[in-house]
Point group: C2
Chain length 171, copies 2
């Protein structure tokens, strides 16, 4: 028996994962972002294959992770999660710069960012786990707290998109 | 430039990962546990190759994840992290049962448990990411809150073992 409530006890961060494929930038919300090894420092992300950002990371071999701040408003980061970069430019009203990887780094509403180059990938049914070697990371707001997924659900009353790693019909 | 403070903004849970290899049980603390796909439900863990539990999971192809409760005392779960199952029996004073996978499920100090069968693995320098298909999960304490890694560090003043995914000399 699988009680999905048990899975919700695992803690996640709300992150905006960015990509740059031949000058085209895009980003989507990913909550599955984890450090894998300390030295060399590597990070893993799990991205739904239906996300446009997924294909851009697979093609370009690099990604950025923007860790959303707890005090960010839904209107600031929500659009990254419920629209496709195929249809709209998600960066129209967003302050950002391009990092060392040329992937987008947000200038507001995040506590830190990480940039990585893909060194391996694993195909798991609907998602791909990309393993990235970290080439840059910076804490840009020392006083801000990162937003956890439980804070997003319980305090912000945020919904879980169907393409998320943690989506279940019952929730 | 890699600012390791940025990496500490990612949220993790404190979990005791259990194994059963031919009747020998063991467990270690792992903070890198995350869901990969919702259907079929899969979970990933990153385990240091030097851990005895690592070899037992690789050999047996199954593992349990015990999500530690925020109100657990250091003396209750700490021994799982700073000793090797090669040298001591970590379960001597622990209340547990064997789950569907025959891996150990703690009866105290956890909010939930998950059991999984390994379907894939990825070798990343010092660690292996095991991907498990979830075959059982249960929330056993609905009123308890799971312990995050930041709670462990900031409130419990817990230390990071050298074999952890998030260990850095500077911390």
């Amino acid at each position: 028996m699988i009680d999905y409530d048990a899975l919700f006890d695992l803690s996640y961060s709300i992150c905006i994962v960015g990509a740059n494929d031949n000058g085209k930038i895009n980003a989507c919300i990913v909550n599955t972002v984890f450090q894998i090894t300390p030295a060399p420092a590597t990070i893993a992300i799990s991205v739904n294959k239906e996300n446009f950002t997924h294909d851009m990371i697979a093609s370009s071999g690099k990604f950025s992770v923007n860790i959303v701040s707890q005090d960010a408003a839904m209107r600031d980061f929500g659009p990254f999660g419920f629209k496709s970069g195929k249809d709209v430019d998600k960066f129209t009203d967003v302050k950002y710069r391009l990092g060392e990887t040329a992937c987008p780094i947000l200038q507001e509403n995040i506590t830190s960012y990480i940039e990585a180059e893909v060194i391996d990938a694993l195909d798991i049914y609907t998602h791909t786990i990309f393993i990235g070697k970290i080439i840059a990371a910076e804490k840009i707001n020392a006083s801000a707290t990162a937003m956890t997924y439980s804070y997003y659900r319980d305090i912000k009353h945020g919904k879980t998109p169907k393409k998320a790693t943690t989506y279940h019909d019952s929730k």
